[in-house]
Structures are given as C-alpha cells and as structure tokens.
C-alpha cells in the first residue's frame, strides 16, 4: 500500500507496511464546506457509513464560517433547499434577521441533519495523506485533535475547495491562467450587524497562491487588516471575523471530462449533466487584458461580464483522471481557468456535493466503479430532489435575425448582439458592413466591433476613430463590471495587427487613462509585434521609452474599490518577457527588483 503526501508542495509516495486502520467507512468526505456538507448528508441518508472531515469546528464553509449568507445566481432545487428552509424556521424564531439564510442557523441545521442521517463528523481534522493501492483509494491519514489517525474508506470525496486531497493523492491539476499562472482575487468578508440585521460586505482583498502555505498566511493577514476602522460604532459592528478566507479559485483537477469556457460558450456541452450552473462570468479580476483570448472577446469586446448563461456540468468533471474511488466536489472540479470563474456559485456547489454523495451511494450499492454507474439512474435520483433541473434551453440565447441584431447593436447594451454576430460567422456580413456606415453612432461603432471580432479588417477605420476620439462610452448593462468602448476597439486593433495607430497606442499606454484602456493598449502593441516581426523594433523602442521612466506608474483598482494593485512592475516584466522572446536587448531587468516582487510578479516571472 502507498501513502501519498504533499511535502513542501511536492507529491511524495512511500510504500507503507500493512497497517490497521483506526476506523472504516464507506465514504469519507474531506471538507464540510458548501459542497462537502451536502455530500455528507446525501451519502448518509442513502444508508452509507460516512465520515465527514472538517478543519474548522463547524459545517457550511463559506456560507457559515465565511459569512457569505446570500446566493449569487445558480438554480434552485436540491437537498440544500430543505436545509435552507429549516434554517429559515430557526432564524425566524430565534436569530437575527437578514441574509438569504442565517450563518449560524444553517450551521446548526447542517450538523443536525448530518447526525440524524447517521453520519460521523470529525472536526478540527485535516487529511494529510491518502492511502492507495496503485491508483485505487484505500483510505486517508488524518490529523485530529488527538493526533494522527488512519481511516479506511471505499470512496473518498475531496470537497476541500482547493483540491487539496486530490493533490495529496497525486492527481493532475491545473492552477491559474496561462498568461501569469495567477488565479482571481480572494475576499475576506465583513459580517456585521447593520440596522439590526445581519449583513455582509464582500470585497476583493488581493491575491494569494492557495497552494502555498506562506502565501495563504499572508493573505489571511492582509485580508484581516482591511477590517480595521478608526472607530467602531454600534451600527455596522462586526459580528465575527471570518474564520476562513474567501478563496474563489484554487486547483482545478484534471478530470475524465473538462469544461472549457470556449466549448461551453460555443454550445459544445454535455447532454449528461448532473447539475447546472447558472451565472455570469463572475471574474473578480479587472485585468482582462491578461486573460485568454476568448475571455477578452467576451469581456472586453462584447462587454458581457454581466451576461448570465447556463452550464451543464457532467459527472466526468468530478472524477479525477486515472483514479478509482475518488471524487471531487465543489469549485475544484475539472474546469479550465476561464470556466472556473462561473462554475463556483453556492447553489451549484451544493448541487455538486449532492451529486457526489448520490453517485458514491449508487456506486457502492450496485458494486460498480463510479464511472460505470448508469447515467440514467444517477439522473433520476438527482431529478427527484430537484438537484438536476429538467428544462435546459441551451447555454445562451443568441440573436439570429437581422432586425433584432440591428436593434440591439444600435442600443446602449449591444453585447449579446456583438457576440451573436461573432458566433454566427458567415451570416450578416453584408448587413454589418452596411450598418457600420450608418450615421447612428452606436449602430456604426457596435457593428464595427462585431466585424472586428469576426476578423474583418473593414472595421479598422471605425475602430481607429473610436480610439482617436477617446470614446469612453460604457454599455448600460446594469451590472457592475463593464468596459469602455475604447478598450474594446483597442483590443481589436491588436487582433487585426493594425500598424497605423502604433504610436497612438503607446501614448495611451503612457497616459493616465483608466487601467482597462492602458492595459489593452499594451497588450495590443505586444500582440501586433508578436505577429508582425517587422514592427518589433518600433514597438519595443516606444515601450521601453515609457517603461524606463522612473515616473511610469500604472495601478489597478480592485472590486469594491478598497484595494489597489500596483501593476507597474508587472507591466515591466510582461514586456521584458516578450522582448526576451524576440531577442531584443533591454535594461528592464535592472528595474525589476527580484527580492521585492509581488506574488503576481513572481508568478509572471516564472511563466515561459
């Protein structure tokens, strides 16, 4: 038997002698947060001998210990609705008002239901090792308040949020975005009493690497510091300091199936979902110029940050590739970084837990590997509780007729029209070209954005005009994160490798215009230079003149405008890496103090 552990970030497997376990269970669920708590109840109610392991002294994770007591989109339906109903009754009688649910009511009800179902719970316990026979799960080594214990299990569910247990088992995973290996910001919720009601304030505290103990510790410190006030008052007083940091993105396991944003948004989805997510692309990152190309098209050009869409999530995303007896549930399932910004909402994560607990039960009762459980049986179980909703009408409703397309392009919220035009390449070309020549400003410019997104260089004159006019129009989407039309046009100038506005883009990068515009100008210049070697010297020279200046500064305001991220060093490193790849000499290395790099700068420095 093998004991698999993580030692200083590296997976280490050692042969162990036969040992006697301190306990034996059908299913062990590691992490009793949003997904794990529901997985535990779901599995226990189906008659399995279950053990829930939790680092804290309560169930519920972000919803209880983290103070996130409201839902953000997602579909209703499933076991969690019953929990919430019971929590509401408790709250109505004895607890402060406020929130979609009361953190402590939910905490109490989750525990009560788990124990009533016959589950065992080990609080203040962490999994430090996984026992394997080959790649078949055999059990876990845990650190409990009384010391180390070895527990046998047939199925292990990793609901730790950051895929810790899968990593300990040696599973493959990805982490962060391709450009700089970073994930999106974390939060540290302020949970307070305001106007005699429970209330929460959720904001972006900064960046951490959830795979690194020191980084996590720094993040906890930084987040905690942000709650200090000159003077605390009775109204708005803190009820509790969050017992855990609000991570939004950690490891994403390599599963039997993987959901990518590109696939999903193009409608290439599974017809065998175990639950649906319903949300917008809820990235808290505001540096979209460093995201993937498909995301930049969605966010920067079409301005669809606020556009909700439906994601069918299949079981294969919850099964770590190559392993038996192992499931993941929650936000560490198999997604790409882009998709991970959407598939992480509380309702869906609870459904994910329910799906994990249910399939574990079917697997053991039918004596089948998890992968061999017939989808129809699992589906029917999940339909019974409402975990799986029946009516799926596609990922996203698009515009298919010219009249509607024109109307929306001419409006102050053109995003879905721009995107529909992009997706339906081959259609509307003549119409878009005609509308681009219209005197109606929005129709003309939005048609140009649509054409540009389709790669049509006919859009260039209008795109250039948008940039030269410093067009700061922001679409009226009624959602919080929206970009300026100028940033959309700049992105497309890069995509279309436009050489005419190179000097102009350099001036924009140097200016004190908003970050989204400046960062897109930088990205567009580098993209043009990447694709057009003959422009490299010209672009490099312009950028270096700017970056060599000790006065050069560029900053990013994070969501809710509390934290500022200095992006000056980041931009210097970003450019330096491009110049190095092109063989262009530069002195940026002297300006980059390696011992003082921020987390994201260090990550970027490491990326090839």
């Amino acid at each position: 038997m093998i004991l698999s552990e993580l030692h200083n970030g590296k997976n280490l497997k050692t042969e162990t002698e036969k040992l006697s376990f301190d306990g034996e269970f059908d299913v062990v669920i590691a992490g009793l947060g949003t997904a794990g708590s529901i997985a535990l109840i779901s599995a226990a109610r189906r008659g399995l001998k279950t053990l829930g392991i939790e680092k804290l002294a309560c169930m519920g994770g972000s919803a209880t210990a983290g103070g996130v007591t409201g839902y953000y989109f997602g579909f209703e339906g499933g076991l969690f609705e019953e929990i919430d109903e019971k929590a509401k009754v408790l709250q109505a009688g004895y607890m402060t008002e406020g929130g979609t649910f009361h953190a402590d009511a939910k905490k109490y009800v989750l525990e009560d239901e788990a124990l009533k179902a016959g589950a065992e719970i080990s609080y203040e316990t962490s999994v430090t090792g996984v026992f394997l026979e080959g790649r078949r799960i055999n059990g876990v080594r845990c650190l409990t308040p009384q010391g180390i214990k070895n527990i046998f299990c047939k199925i292990l569910i990793d609901a730790t949020g950051d895929g810790e247990v899968c990593a300990i088992a040696g599973c493959e995973f990805i982490y962060g975005r391709a450009s700089d290996g970073c994930s999106q910001p974390y939060t540290n919720v302020r949970y307070m009493i305001k106007d005699n009601r429970n209330s929460m304030s959720n904001f972006d505290a900064g960046y951490i690497n959830p795979l690194d103990g020191e980084s996590v510790s720094c993040g906890i410190l930084k987040g905690g510091c942000l709650h200090l006030k000159d003077r605390f008052e009775e109204d708005g007083r803190i009820i509790f300091a969050a017992a855990l940091n609000g991570g939004r993105e950690g490891r994403l396991i390599a599963g039997d199936e993987c959901l990518s944003f590109d696939d999903v948004i193009h409608g290439r989805v599974s017809d065998k979902p175990v639950f649906y997510e319903y949300s917008n692309h809820d990235t808290h990152s505001r540096d979209w110029a460093f995201e993937s190309e498909i995301l930049q098209k969605w966010l920067t050009v079409a301005n669809l940050w606020g556009q909700n869409f439906t994601v069918p999530v299949p079981l294969g995303t919850m099964i770590p590739r190559g392993y038996s007896g192992l499931l993941s549930a929650g936000r560490c399932i198999s997604l790409d970084h882009d998709m991970a910004q959407s598939v992480r909402m509380q309702r869906a994560m609870q459904k994910s837990g329910e799906a994990a607990g249910t399939v574990a039960a079917l697997s053991l009762k039918m004596n089948l590997d998890i992968r061999d459980v017939p989808y129809e049986l699992l589906r029917d179980e999940l339909l019974k509780t409402g975990c799986l909703n029946v009516s799926f009408n596609g990922v996203l409703e698009q515009i298919k007729d010219a009249a509607s397309l024109k109307e929306i392009l001419a409006s102050v919220h053109p995003g879905i029209a721009i995107w529909s035009a992009f997706i339906s390449k081959g259609s509307f070309e003549d119409k878009l070209s005609e509308w681009m020549l219209s005197r109606e400003e929005n129709l003309s410019k939005h048609s140009a954005l649509a054409l540009g997104l389709r790669g049509d260089r006919k859009a260039l004159p209008v795109l250039r005009r948008i940039v030269l006019e410093r067009d700061m129009f922001i679409p009226d989407t009624k959602r919080s994160l929206r970009g300026r039309r100028m940033a959309s046009a700049i992105y497309l100038l890069g995509e279309l490798e436009d050489a005419e506005l190179i000097e102009e883009l350099a001036e924009i990068f140097k200016s004190d215009l908003p970050f989204d515009i400046r960062s897109n100008a930088l990205a567009a210049l580098l993209k043009t230079a990447s694709r057009k070697p003959e422009q490299r010297e010209r672009i490099s020279s312009l950028l270096l003149r700017i970056l060599y200046s000790p006065d050069f500064k560029i900053e990013l305001l994070m969501k809710v405008d509390i934290t500022v991220e200095n992006m000056t060093g980041y931009c210097r490193i970003f450019v330096a890496k491009h110049l190095d790849a092109w063989g262009i000499k530069h002195e940026l290395g002297r300006m980059i103090k390696k011992e003082k790099l921020s987390l994201r700068e260090k990550n970027l420095n490491r990326v090839d």
């Binding site: 552990e5 804290l56 004895y94 402590d104 180390i148 103990g213 510790s217 905690g224 007083r237």
Partner: protein, 264 residues
C-alpha cells in the same frame, strides 16, 4: 511577513493574545504557528469578553494595546465588543512585523539533537522546522495532552437586541461595549463535543427566550470558551506551557505573554 526558515530559537504554538505579547518581547528568531485564520481566537472567536478589565496595564505594550482598544471604541469601562478585536490584532501583527504563520497545523513534535523537530501541515503540505524552545499558549496543550488542566468549558453566542433580558437558569449573560450587544454563555462538560455543545446552547436559548424576546442570536462561537490553570508550566526545560485562557481577559493574556518572555 511570515517566513519559513529551518530553525528558530522559539516556536510559539497558538496565535493567541499571549503569543502576541510574547512575540513583541522576543523581537526575532521566533515563529508563531496558528492553525486557524484569526489571532486571539481564544477570546475573539470564543466570544469570551473576559473579566477584571479594571486592572491597570503593567507594561508599556499593554498600555498601548488598551489605549488602542479604547481609542477605536471597542473597549469602554471594562466592556468590550470582542468580535472587533481581530482587526486590531491583525494590524498589530502587520505593523510590528510579527512572524505569524496562519492556517498551519502541528502534526508531530519530537526531539532531534538539542532541538524540537516540529512537523507542520498547511497548504504546501508537510514541512519541518526546528526550534530550541517551545512556548505553548494553547488551552489544553498540543494534541490535548494537558486537557485535564482545563478548569471550565463554555459555549457562547453573541446576541443582538434591545430591552429586557432575564438571565435563564442554565446560562449567563455578559454585557458588551454596546447596549444592543450581549454574550449568552452556557456551561459545558469538558467532554462535550461540538454537536452536543451547540445543542445545549440552542436548547438553553430557546427555553429561555420568553424572558428576552427582543434578543436574538447573531452568531455562535467558533471555538470553545475555556478557562485554564494559569501558567507558566514547564513540561520540559525547553517547553513551557502558558495557556492564554489562564488569564482573565485579552489584555491580561497579552501582558502575560510579554512579561514572561521579557523577564526571561
């Protein structure tokens, strides 16, 4: 900023108020290891307001700490809004550059040469550090080795409300800094686990609610409210136990830690 080096003069176990005070006195070559995410959890997350706040601080850092709590309006006339303490502590850690490692658990401690070999577990996995001395500020000791030294155990809740409040038979009510804030406290058996403790808390509150209808539970504690024997206790010449919950209140615990290390 925390740093992980191979060897320290002192490893302080538990990110408690005592640990904070001790760290200020130690100045360097130490590390504080805390398994949770909140400093001073033994008071702040236990909703343990403490008693005997009227005693004058005996150290300069203690004076400064008390003064800050008063200035920020969380402490007045011996009444504290205990949940507001962590931001002050976090900023103390940052401003003083204290070497605090959060979200890190102790797996094992053994002897290696003249040092303690401490195996840790956190997001990076397993790690080992060495320390010449250990100062254990936790209530029942590492792995509950000294749980028998615990004198008392309670579970608390923060209430919000107005108006009359009568103390139920099986609970205590503690006044806090603000009139609309109180702590509801229920005594436990030392062997009560979390489900049993929460049940006792809710049962006590629900059965007594008719005497305090305008009061409701805002939150329940994340850690037990312990009272321990007051240290220091030398388990070994190089291992001292100084439970933070051996002190009456956060300020006393802070000064206790500072004084202990300062006078060594």
């Amino acid at each position: 900023m925390p740093y992980m080096e191979m060897k320290y003069k002192t490893a302080v176990i538990g990110g408690t108020l005592t640990a904070l005070g001790a760290a200020l006195a130690l100045k360097d070559d130490y590390i504080i290891i805390e398994k949770g995410a909140v400093p001073g959890f033994e008071f702040a997350h236990a909703f343990k307001a403490g008693i005997n706040w009227d005693k004058t601080p005996v150290t300069a850092p203690g004076e400064a700490f008390k003064s800050e709590m008063e200035k920020r309006n969380i402490l007045e006339n011996g009444r504290i809004s205990i949940a507001a303490l962590p931001p002050i502590l976090f900023n103390m850690i940052k401003n003083e550059g204290l070497n605090f490692l959060f979200w890190t658990e102790i797996v094992e401690i053994s002897r290696e040469g003249g040092c303690w070999k401490i195996k840790l577990f956190n997001a990076s996995g397993l790690n080992t550090i060495l320390a010449e001395n250990i100062l254990d500020t936790t209530s029942g000791g590492v792995f509950g080795k000294f749980a028998s030294s615990l004198k008392m155990k309670k579970i608390n809740a923060v209430l919000n409300g107005t108006g009359e409040i009568s103390v139920p038979e099986n609970a205590e009510i503690v006044d806090c800094r603000f009139p609309s804030e109180k702590i509801f406290s229920v005594s436990l058996d030392l062997k009560d686990d979390w489900p049993s403790a929460r049940k006792k808390l809710f049962d006590a509150f629900i059965s007594g609610h008719h005497c305090m209808k305008q009061w409701r539970i805002a939150a329940t504690a994340f850690t037990f409210d312990y009272s321990s024997e007051k240290g220091p206790f030398m388990s070994d010449e190089k291992w001292t136990r100084l439970p933070s919950t051996g002190y009456d209140n956060p300020l006393a615990a802070f000064e206790g830690g500072f004084t202990f290390e300062w006078e060594k």
